[in-house]
Amino acid sequence: MIKEYTGDDMIVATGIDKFYPNGCHALKNVSATVHRGEVLVVIGPSGSGKSTFLRTLNQLETISSGAISIDATDMYAKDTDINKLREEVGMVFQGFNLFPHMSVLENVMLAPLKVSKRDRREVEEHARSLLCKVGLESRMTNYPSQLSGGQMQRVAIARALAMKPNIMLFDEPTSALDPEMVGEVLDVMKSLAKEGMTMVVVTHEMGFAREVADRVLFMEEGELLVDDTPTLFFDNPEHPRLAKFLSQVL
C-alpha cells in the first residue's frame, strides 16, 4: 500500500497536559503530529490516557496546558468556533452512542441537516450511499435496538462520515463487540484508510495496527513513550516498557 504524503499537518498537539477536576494527571506533556492521510494507532495499558488524548482532539476534554491545531486552526484561539471545528473531526465511540429514538437513516442524516443545513435530498442520497458502503443498505429503516453490535458500529461510522470530516477519531471501536463482528468493523476502517482518510485509532487490535497504521504510539501513565513505524514498533521495540507491554499482550 503506497501512501501519498502531501506533507501538510492535520493534527498538531504540542506539549499538552490534562488534569481532571479530581486532580488526576491524565496527560503529561504529550506532543504528536498527524499528517494528512496518515493513520495513527495509539496503544497502551488501561488507564494510560489513550481516550483522554483522543478526546482532547475534538475538545470533548479541554486541555490544561499546551496547544492543539486541527488543519492549521488553533483549537483554543479566541475566534475559533469549536462546533465548526468538530464538523471536520468525526468520532466513533466504544459504546456506539447511536441515537436510540431515531432510525438508522435518521441517525445518519440528522447532523448534516441540522448542523450543516445541507439540502435534504442531497443529504439523504449521501446517507444512503454511506450506509451502502458500510454494508447496511437493508437496515435503513431499523432502529438501533434492532441491530447487532457490529451493525451499530458501522452505522456510527456512517453517521460520522455524513459530516464529510477530514479526520476520523476511533476510541476502541471494536472493544465492545463479539469477536465474530470485529472483522466487519475493521474492514470498513481499512477501506477508509485506503481512501486516504486521516485517522487516529485507539485499539487493542495489534493486527490492525501492524497492517494499517503508518505510525504507532505507545502511552503509559499519561506519557507518550514511543512514536514509531509499525515495523520498528512491533518487531524491534527499543523502549523497555513497550517491550514488556508487547510481551504481555502478544
Binding site: N58, L60, N83, K84, R86, E87, V89, G90, M91, F93, G95, N97, L98, F99, P100, H101, L110, A111, K114, V115, S116, Y143, S145, A156, R159, A160, M163
Partner: protein, 317 residues
C-alpha cells in the same frame, strides 16, 4: 417453579373485601341514624328546576297566534316592546296587565349547578397551572443541569424554597403579598401559586430525566458539531421526555388535587362549591362523596390519557 395463585379464588376474595367495605359504610351510617338523600345532590349538579322569565317593565302581554312567542307592550311608549320566544310554559294570558318583575313564562333548559361550576373552575385552574408549570419547569430543569453557576444555584434555591414550604402558605403569600403588589385577581394569584409550586417538581422530574440519559448521547451529538442547544433539543430531551412521562403524570394528578387549596382565597372550585352546597342541603356525606368522585374522574381520565401517550411512544421504537 413458583406456584401461580388461584385466580378465581383471589378474585372472589377481592370481591368479598370490596363488598365488606361497602357494607360497613352502610352499617356505619345506620349506626349514626344517617338517612341517605342522594336526590338532594342532583339539583346542585344540573339545575332542572323551571326558571322564571320575568318582565322588565309594566305593560300588556300579547300572545302570538301560534302561541310560540309573547310580547310585552310597555306602558311607557318610548320603550320598545319586549318579545320572549324561548320558554316551555306560558304563565300569562293574552291581554293581561303585567307589572315589572312579574313571571311571564318559565323555561326548563338545564343549567350547571354549583358543583359542576366548581368542577369547571377546578379544571380551568388546573389546566392553566399545568401549562405554565411545564414551561417554567422545563427552563428551571435545564438551568439545574447547566454548568453556569448562576443558573444552577438560582434554580436550586428556587426548587428548595418551593419544596420546603407548604403550598397553602405559598397561596396566601401569592394572594396577599404578590397579588396585592401586582394587583392580581384571585384566579391569577391562585393559578400563579399553583404553577410556581408544581413547576419546582416538574423541574426536578426533568432534571432527573435529562441526567438519566447516558453522557455518551450528548458527546456523540457534540462530536457531530451540534451546539449544546441542538444536542438538547434533538437528542437528549426527546429521550428524557419519554422517561419523565410516568412521574410527570403523577405530578399532574397532584396538581389537580392540590388545586383544592385555592378555595382558601375564595376561588369557587370544586372543593369550595362542595362546602357551600353542604350547608344548603344538609346532605354532607352525599356531597363529599360526589365531590370525591368528580376529582377521581378528573385524575382518572388524566392518567388514562398519559397511558395512551406512553403506549404510542413505546410503539415508535
Amino acid at each position: 417453579m413458583e406456584k401461580t395463585p388461584n385466580k378465581l379464588l383471589w378474585h372472589g376474595v377481592l370481591l368479598a373485601i370490596l363488598l365488606g367495605v361497602g357494607y360497613s359504610v352502610l352499617l356505619a351510617s345506620q349506626s349514626i341514624q344517617y338517612t341517605w338523600r342522594w336526590e338532594r345532590v342532583v339539583p346542585y349538579l344540573v339545575n332542572t328546576e323551571p326558571r322564571p322569565v320575568m318582565s322588565p317593565f309594566d305593560g300588556v302581554a300579547s300572545i302570538s297566534t301560534d302561541g310560540l312567542s309573547v310580547s310585552i307592550e310597555s306602558d311607557n311608549s318610548a320603550e320598545p316592546a319586549q318579545v320572549f320566544n324561548e320558554f316551555s310554559q306560558l304563565v300569562v294570558g293574552d291581554g293581561d296587565m303585567i307589572f315589572e318583575g312579574d313571571v311571564v313564562a318559565t323555561t326548563n333548559d338545564w343549567r350547571l349547578g354549583p358543583i359542576m361550576n366548581g368542577l369547571v373552575m377546578t379544571l380551568k385552574i388546573s389546566i392553566v397551572s399545568l401549562i405554565f408549570a411545564v414551561i417554567i419547569g422545563l427552563f428551571v430543569g435545564l438551568a439545574r443541569v447547566s454548568s453556569n453557576p448562576a443558573l444552577k444555584y438560582l434554580s436550586l434555591i428556587y426548587v428548595e424554597i418551593v419544596r420546603g414550604t407548604p403550598l397553602l402558605v405559598q397561596i396566601f403569600i401569592f394572594y396577599f403579598f404578590i397579588g396585592t403588589v401586582l394587583g392580581l385577581d384571585r384566579f391569577t394569584a391562585g393559578a400563579a401559586a399553583l404553577s410556581i409550586f408544581a413547576a419546582a417538581y416538574v423541574a426536578e422530574i426533568i432534571r432527573s430525566g435529562i441526567q438519566s440519559i447516558p453522557a455518551g448521547q450528548m458527546e456523540a451529538a457534540r462530536s457531530l458539531g451540534m451546539n449544546y442547544a441542538q444536542a438538547m433539543i434533538y437528542i437528549v430531551l426527546p429521550q428524557a421526555f419519554k422517561r419523565t412521562l410516568p412521574p410527570m403524570a403523577g405530578q399532574f394528578i397532584n396538581l389537580i388535587k392540590d388545586s383544592s387549596l385555592v378555595s382558601v382565597i375564595s376561588i369557587t372550585d370544586l372543593t369550595k362549591a362542595g362546602r357551600e352546597v353542604v350547608s344548603g342541603t344538609f346532605a354532607p356525606f352525599e356531597v363529599w362523596f360526589t365531590v370525591a368522585l368528580l376529582y377521581l374522574v378528573l385524575t382518572g381520565s388524566l392518567s388514562w390519557m398519559v397511558k395512551l401517550l406512553e403506549k404510542r411512544l413505546a410503539n415508535s421504537d
